[in-house]
């Protein structure tokens, strides 16, 4: 199922090109919109919500055209803003209820859903507290609660872990994953933190200065092997053991990369059939101990770094 289809999308602000002929498709699940600050993430979200008309190209979200079908689209999608500023005096439950009503939920239903969804995000006991008295982590949960209270098909969350400590960040990411897996709500999160995107996303869209770097399923993008990685344990009795393994493999005609002081050897050119046997023999002969042997996969960082600047 295609949630978002983007064709040759460009957005120009004066001399600045925020999005430059971007093409990609977003499928179901959690999608990470990744890029540094100024990459065009928020601009893309505002276009996807129908709040801005693109300078060029087209976009369809849930098979609707965001600008002409904006009101209809925004009753089916939700948005959690990046800024952590919310109405301080309003109790969380009133805030969530009000936004659910705006997205078309009848008043009584909105009231019960607001409570239920605040329980879901772990703020059940705190739901009558004014938002201004809440911590940053609790505010992020309130933002998530308001975004899912109206049972949207798709949620846009702009930097949902901004300002959180690692523990709170993991909790919010787990909640987002839960929302997608258990309740079938598709989520697009924008982030500049690659590790959190790798942690929870099914799909990924990487932007750099308005240009598309990569887009697709995370497994497919990072799944291609880029050789083998051997991690060894240095043994005091055999101080040259790691270098010995390297030399033994090189003597067998295999290209081996080794950074000084590192315990990791990298074999970038795939894996000939006899390679495991060669490694086993080289390690045994050198007196070293093998800690890890695995196919090396590309990280998001590798994907970004592979792009010519």
């Amino acid at each position: 199922m295609e949630l978002i289809t983007v064709n040759d999308l460009s957005m120009q602000f004066g001399q600045h090109r925020a999005l430059d002929s971007v093409d990609f498709t977003v499928h179901h699940g959690v999608t990470g919109l990744v890029g540094a600050n100024g990459a065009g993430k928020t601009t893309f979200m505002s276009i996807a919500l129908g709040l801005r008309a693109p300078t060029n190209g087209s976009i369809r979200v849930l098979n609707l055209e965001p600008v002409s079908d904006g009101a209809q689209l925004r009753s089916l999608v939700s948005y959690g803003p990046e800024r952590n500023i919310l109405p301080d005096e309003m109790p969380a439950v009133d805030f969530v209820k009000h936004l659910a009503e705006l997205r078309g939920i009848p008043r009584k239903e909105a009231k019960t859903r607001a409570s239920d969804v605040l329980w879901l995000v772990g703020l059940g006991e705190e739901r009558f507290r004014p938002i201004g008295t809440m911590s940053t982590g609790q505010r992020q949960r309130v933002k998530l609660a308001q975004a899912i209270a109206a049972d949207p098909q798709l949620v846009f969350l702009d930097e949902p872990t901004d300002g959180l400590d690692p523990l709170a960040r993991d909790e919010v990411l787990t909640l987002i994953r839960q929302v997608s897996e258990e309740y079938g709500i598709h989520v697009m999160i924008s982030s500049h933190l690659l590790e959190e995107v790798e942690q929870i996303c099914d799909n990924i869209v990487i932007l750099n200065a308005g240009k598309l770097v990569a887009a697709g399923q995370l497994d497919k993008l990072t799944g291609e092997s880029t050789g083998l990685e051997i991690e060894l344990i240095a043994i005091d009795d055999y101080p040259n053991s790691i270098e010995d393994v390297q030399v033994a493999l090189q003597n067998a005609g295999i290209r081996v990369l080794h950074e000084p002081e590192s315990t990791i050897l990298r074999i970038p050119d795939g894996s000939p059939e006899l390679l495991p046997d060669l490694i086993r023999d080289a390690v045994a002969d050198s007196g070293a101990r093998l800690k890890r042997l695995e196919h090396r996969r590309r990280s998001l960082e590798d994907i970004i770094l592979d792009v010519p600047s």
Partner: protein, 291 residues
């Protein structure tokens, strides 16, 4: 004895919503109601209730005391009830004070606390958002324009001081309602136009009041010190609106000098100001980024 009859399910978990979603009209009403509650400080700290409730309370208290005196003592005390219907509407200074208090609260806070972005992520558009805010602000102003005047009209009717006949009563009522509606709408547009540039509520209120003073005083100076003539008074938006209300109600002019200006010019002046202030608000929001 079991308390099972009082038992409630507190947590029902997340559920899909299978019902019919309400449309844009519902979103507008919801926003207007939410804004009106906020304007009067309902669900907020006591200090937010003080000013709007004080202005409203004093306005209605005066009406109630006057009506009570008439009903309890009658006779000559009823003479003020014989004034025309527009004369019973609160003075312009009270109306602009109230507008300066309520309008900034309706829109300025949304800029400051991020609600504007969230509103724009719902089915509301910039124009429906402004419609909701106008509904709320103009409705709130109507409470001090039409509310007291209606009480006076009812008191007058009960005391048998006119209007005479059902037709005349409904004509007076209709004119009064239309005048109050249009003047409230204008006060709303005027206050929104001068408060939509900032995200500081207090500054917005001061700017609205200064805009009133800044158009009032020069209009009188130009009228009295130059030979431009009486029509120059139409550059004073609030007094022009007030005079327009009086003309709609077939009432006496608020100030003699305005009485010398033709009704068509007063009407033209009123709608010119209404369109100008509405345009300022519309243009400001057209260029305002939602996210």
């Amino acid at each position: 004895m079991s308390n099972a009859g009082n038992a409630r399910i507190l947590e029902r978990g997340y559920r899909k919503f299978d019902g019919q979603r309400l449309g844009i009209v519902s979103a507008i009403w919801s926003t207007a109601w939410h804004t009106t509650r906020s304007i009067f400080g309902l669900g907020r700290k006591a200090r937010h209730k003080f000013f709007p409730m004080a202005v409203l309370g004093i306005t209605y208290l005066i009406v109630v005391i006057q009506l009570a005196i008439v009903f309890f003592f009658g006779g000559e005390t009823a003479s003020f009830l014989t004034t025309d219907s527009w004369g019973m509407v609160a003075p312009a200074i009270v109306m602009i004070l109230f507008a300066a208090l309520v309008a900034p609260d309706a829109i300025v806070r949304d800029q400051k606390d991020g609600m504007y972005s969230l509103y724009m992520s719902t089915p509301l558009t910039k124009s429906t958002y402004l419609a909701a805010k106008t509904l709320s602000v103009a409705g709130s102003i109507l409470l001090i324009t039409f509310g007291p005047a209606l009480l006076y009209l009812l008191g007058k009717t009960i005391k048998g001081l006119g209007p005479n006949g059902i037709g005349a009563w409904f004509e007076t009522f209709g004119r009064l309602l239309l005048a109050c509606l249009l003047v409230s709408l204008f006060l709303c547009a005027f206050a929104l136009a001068f408060s939509c540039f900032t995200n500081r509520r207090a500054i917005a209120s001061i700017v609205v009041f200064l805009a009133y003073v800044g158009t009032n005083i020069p209009s009188w100076i130009l009228y009295e010190e130059t030979t431009i003539g009486k029509n120059i008074l139409l550059i004073n938006p609030i007094e022009t609106a007030y005079e327009f209300g009086a003309r709609l109600c077939n009432a006496e002019s608020i100030v003699n000098e305005y009485g010398q200006i033709s009704t068509s010019l007063v009407t033209l002046g009123f709608f010119a100001w209404l369109i100008a202030t509405c345009s300022i608000v519309a243009l400001t929001y057209r260029n305002r980024e939602a996210i």
